[in-house]
């Protein structure tokens, strides 16, 4: 169980603090795929980086706690935290980008977490690395290659192999399929799903792409402007979306064979610096009313497991 309580993470900017994760409460059950969906600047990546405490120097965890199996990982010291990184919690970055070191070959990069965390020599570590590479679908001819020689999809597989080599409990995948073509996207998602099933891996899937997340996620949280707007089971979000923002996201999904016009959400995402009081979605919401301006983000329970942060519902 990952228990996030009142988490507040902000970045120092020239214009003041940007509240990227603004007092968020979230519980993530073990062994599920938890989708975290939001547009750029919604704070979803910051939330992911906070779980590993690898935020950039300009960021500050201002308050809150993150309890994993009874340990508040925001309170332990850096040396202790290093033992969590890459061992108990692993992260998959956008592999198609530059998350692999250009001058180190694939198998060595995949084996490195073992060298760091286990009492093991390179020969053994490389043997395990090759097994993991084979597991994610990369054959022998790729093992000694360098990142620039691989396609985006292959690099993504390398990054995944690297993340699971220490058999972690939690996997954070931040936009793992962005910048890949749709066929490769589908394969990577299937791979993540199969790994989660096989190893009972708690997977936090961070993406801007709701349709892709909804294909594999058990639970989905929608973020907007550093706040949660809706959390629920996959079906609850897809079939019974309550928040106007979630509905907006769903109606921007094109349907094959349908001539229905794609609506989209008008306006621009709000700035995280000096956000307005009340609901962050206020200026883009078609149902906005006076009471939204003073909304305190107390959750409204739709049904068991389904929470919405909106004044349209509840008391």
């Amino acid at each position: 169980m990952i228990d996030i309580n009142d988490l507040f993470v902000r970045y120092k900017t020239e214009n003041g603090y940007a509240n990227a994760v603004d007092h968020i409460n979230l519980r993530i059950e073990k062994g599920i795929i938890f989708g975290l969906v939001g547009e750029s600047g919604s704070g979803k990546t910051t939330l992911g980086l906070t779980l590993l405490r690898i935020l950039p120097p300009s960021a500050e965890i201002a308050s809150g706690s993150v309890n994993i199996d009874g340990t508040d990982i925001l309170r332990i010291n850096e040396n202790e935290m290093r033992k969590w990184r890459g061992k108990r919690i692993s992260m998959v970055f956008q592999g198609a980008m530059n998350s692999l070191n250009p001058v180190i070959n694939i198998e060595r990069q995949v084996a490195e977490p073992l060298i760091i965390h286990e009492n093991i020599d390179w020969e053994q570590a490389l043997k395990i690395a090759r097994e993991k590479l084979a597991l994610v679908g990369l054959g022998e001819n790729t093992w000694k290659r360098y990142p620039h020689e691989l396609s985006g999809g292959m690099k993504q597989r390398v990054v995944i192999a690297m993340a699971i080599i220490t058999d972690p409990e939690i996997l954070i995948a931040d936009e793992p399929t962005t910048a890949l073509d749709v066929v490769t996207q589908d394969r990577i998602m299937k791979l993540i799903k199969s790994l989660q099933r096989e190893y009972n891996l708690t997977t936090i899937l961070i993406s801007h792409d709701l349709p892709i997340v909804s294909e594999v996620a058990d639970k989905i949280a929608i973020m907007y402007g550093g706040k949660l707007s809706e959390v629920g089971e996959n079906e609850q979000i897809l079939r019974n979306a309550k928040h106007p923002y979630t509905s907006g996201l769903l109606s921007s999904i094109p349907e094959p064979g349908s001539s229905k016009e794609i609506k989209g959400i008008p306006g621009e995402p709000i700035s995280l610096v000096n956000p307005p009081k009340g609901c962050r979605f206020y200026n883009r919401c078609q149902f906005a009313s006076e009471k939204c301006k003073n909304y305190d983000y107390s959750p409204k329970i739709v049904e068991v497991g389904h929470e919405v942060y909106c004044t349209l519902y509840g008391e």
Binding site: L52, I54, R82, K83, W84, R85, G86, K87, S90, M91, F93, Q94, M97, N98, S99, L100, N101, P102, V103, I104, N105, E112, P113, I116, H117, Y146, H148, E149, V159, M162
Partner: protein, 324 residues
């Protein structure tokens, strides 16, 4: 591996062409200089016209320029760099010992300055924004901008004040060594000041390049990946950042090899080190064209070879070049 072979072949061909262009350029460069070597040579106002003409003829300076050029090219390619106007000896006989003396100073100075530059650069980058960074970067900049002859002179003054430290030449005059050890000790004591001067003048640039290159690398995604794997600072710096930051360093070191030689001219002159730098200085004063041409040729070839080696090192360090 086929790509690697063609990469090397291409580099070698480029190097050869470059050297040929330098040979041609060298010839004209010194003839543009004002002054006449023969006038400096005879120094005797009583010489007859016939004797002066004979001198011109002896050195081939009475021939038209293009003919001089062709002869020069032919001789250069056959290893004959001509006869020094001043020493009246084949240029190679004069230059080779001078080159050896220079290398005794240049090779350790280059290695020391690179090592010092890398270490201070890495420390500075890792502690960027702190007082330590400020101090290391500040002193690197100060030494980098300091005139070589000025720094050398300061050391001479300090050495004379302390006493017992030789400030000029390679060996003590009029000493008969009882063996190889005392001779080397004498050489090392003479080497100390020029070596320190040249190292200090050279290392600053390496510090700055290393620091900036590392700071760039620190912002790369793969550094965050390394951190996410649980790597500690030491591993992040030396296993992940340093090999990548070294790439621009290699090019800079090769390009700067010419600067090392230039630094040597000033250092050798200040400390009367009988190397190729001091020889260039003397040759310019006496308009000794063959020596200058020879010296410049040797220096240019060294720089071209240094770049060639850099290309090879580069391909070793960066797999993206290796397999292109």
């Amino acid at each position: 591996m086929k790509g690697l072979a063609s990469y090397f072949t291409k580099r070698v061909v480029f190097a050869v062409v470059t050297i040929f262009i330098i040979i041609s350029f060298n010839f004209f460069l010194f003839r543009i200089l004002p002054g006449n070597p023969i006038e400096l040579l005879y120094r005797n106002p009583m010489l007859t016209k016939a004797q002066i003409d004979a001198l011109y003829h002896q050195f081939g300076l009475d021939k038209p320029l293009w003919e001089q050029f062709l002869i020069y090219i032919y001789n250069s390619l056959t290893g004959n760099l001509g006869i020094s106007f001043y020493y009246k000896q084949p240029v190679t006989n004069v230059l080779i010992p001078a080159l050896e003396n220079s290398l005794i100073l240049l090779v350790p100075a280059t290695i020391l300055s690179i090592a010092l530059g890398i270490i201070t650069g890495v420390v500075s980058a890792w502690h960027r924004g702190t007082k330590l960074d400020f101090a290391l970067l500040g002193s690197a900049l100060a030494f980098y901008t300091m005139p070589t002859f000025w720094l050398g002179s300061i050391f001479i003054i300090v050495a004379l004040y302390i006493g017992g430290i030789p400030v000029s030449g390679m060996y003590s005059l009029g000493l008969n060594y009882t063996g190889i050890i005392p001779r080397i000790m004498d050489l090392l004591s003479h080497l100390m000041l020029p070596l320190i001067t040249l190292t200090l003048v050279l290392y600053g640039e390496f510090t700055i390049i290393m620091r900036n290159s590392l700071i760039d690398v620190f912002t790369e995604d793969y550094i965050i990946t390394a951190k996410a794997k649980g790597a500690d600072d030491k591993r992040i710096i030396w296993e992940h950042a340093y090999p990548n930051a070294l790439l621009p360093m290699v090019s800079i070191i090769a390009i700067n090899f010419g600067l090392v030689v230039a630094g040597a001219v000033l250092t050798e002159t200040v400390f009367s080190w009988p190397g190729i730098g001091l020889m260039i200085y003397d040759a310019i004063i006496s308009r000794d064209y063959p020596i200058l041409q020879g010296a410049f040729l040797i220096i240019s070839i060294t720089v071209v070879i240094a770049n060639l080696i850099a290309d090879f090192v580069y391909s070793y360090l960066d797999p993206r070049i290796r397999y292109k």
